[in-house]
């Protein structure tokens, strides 16, 4: 009986392996459109890059290419959050695995880092 179950499980795994390989080659990622970058006021001349390096780079990568956290670079955040206030809300209150930064960063720092991800990290 167990032997029969073993064969069935192995067959299922075999199919799953094939499906996974096919998906790796056929599933095209969504292309981030060159959406216009919406301006976010970074008050007080705060260096968004420094805030990013200190607080975000560990998870999102130093260049915003992603890591444990999703990619931010290449205009991705603009695509996901067309309204910058939505992005600010996520940074402030956290979401899922992302911690809240509302208690750690000032509103200006959050605005500056959000602006940085939407402009500098967006690339040309």
């Amino acid at each position: 009986m167990l032997r029969r179950i073993s064969f069935v499980v192995e067959a299922i795994v075999g199919v799953a392996v094939i499906v996974t390989v096919v998906l790796l080659f056929t599933n095209e990622p969504e292309q981030a459109p060159a959406a216009p970058v919406e301006a976010v006021e970074a008050a007080g001349g705060i260096d968004g890059a420094a805030v990013f390096a200190d607080n975000c780079a560990a998870c999102h990568g130093g260049d915003g290419s992603g890591g444990i956290g999703p990619r931010l670079a290449g205009g991705r955040v603009v695509t996901v959050y067309p309204d910058p206030t939505d992005q600010i809300a996520v940074v402030t209150t956290g979401r899922g695995g992302m911690p809240a930064f509302g208690d750690k960063l000032t509103d200006d720092e959050i605005a500056a880092v959000v602006d940085y991800t939407r402009t500098v990290l967006a690339g040309p």
């Binding site: 032997r3 073993s6 998906l23 990622p29 290419s65 992603g66 695995g97």
Partner: protein, 192 residues
């Protein structure tokens, strides 16, 4: 090769070590192929499967943990079958159960590997140590798995091949877990 040699079973067939070398080569090719894909493929940076978890990363951390638990059961079964445990000889169900747990471990690892490869890609920067070594270990894991499958299916392997490959596979999985799930649980917390 003489016909008489074949009849006597003394043909110039490759030595068991050569067969094992072939199995290792298969594994190496699988590992390299995954690494090349992870490098060449433009990382999608998108969420894939989440199932009942908060994020894909939570899902991955727990699925890798499930794979580790199944691997520990595998190790236990293997030791029992090889008579390395202070127990009575392994009953007949241990073999199939060992295969089932191994297959399930591979099954739960697939969506994890899919997200790693498709969404994140291979991290070629040794300076980013955890991600780099996790990338290397991930590719090695599937290479070792492929080698183990070939070794299990062949009757021409040396006696030490299966325990060695199984041991390598288990060790790599533990290191994979440490560089992913353990890191995740320590950094983000043990949450679903």
């Amino acid at each position: 090769m003489l016909l008489t040699d074949t009849a006597r079973g003394t043909s110039a067939a490759p030595a068991p070590g050569v067969w094992f070398g072939g199995a290792a080569l298969v594994g190496a090719l699988v590992a390299v192929a995954l690494g090349v894909y992870g490098n060449v493929h433009d990382a999608a940076s998108e969420t894939t499967i989440r199932w009942m978890f908060t994020t894909t990363l939570h899902f991955k951390a727990w699925m890798t943990t499930v794979a580790l638990v199944l691997a520990i059961l595998q190790l236990f079964g293997a030791l029992w079958m090889f008579g390395k445990l202070p127990l009575a000889p392994a009953p007949s169900w241990v073999g199939p159960a060992h295969r089932i747990t191994g297959s399930l471990a591979l099954l739960v690892s697939l969506p994890v590997a899919y997200h790693c490869l498709w969404s994140l890609g291979f991290n070629p920067d040794p300076g980013g140590s955890r991600r780099f070594w996790h990338s290397v270990l991930g590719c090695t894991f599937y290479g070792a798995f492929a080698t183990k499958i070939v070794v299990v299916r062949s009757r021409r392997m040396p006696g030490w091949a299966l325990p060695v490959v199984g041991g390598v596979l288990f060790t790599v999985l533990v290191l994979l877990w440490l560089t992913s799930s353990w890191w995740f649980f320590r950094t983000i917390g043990v949450e679903r």
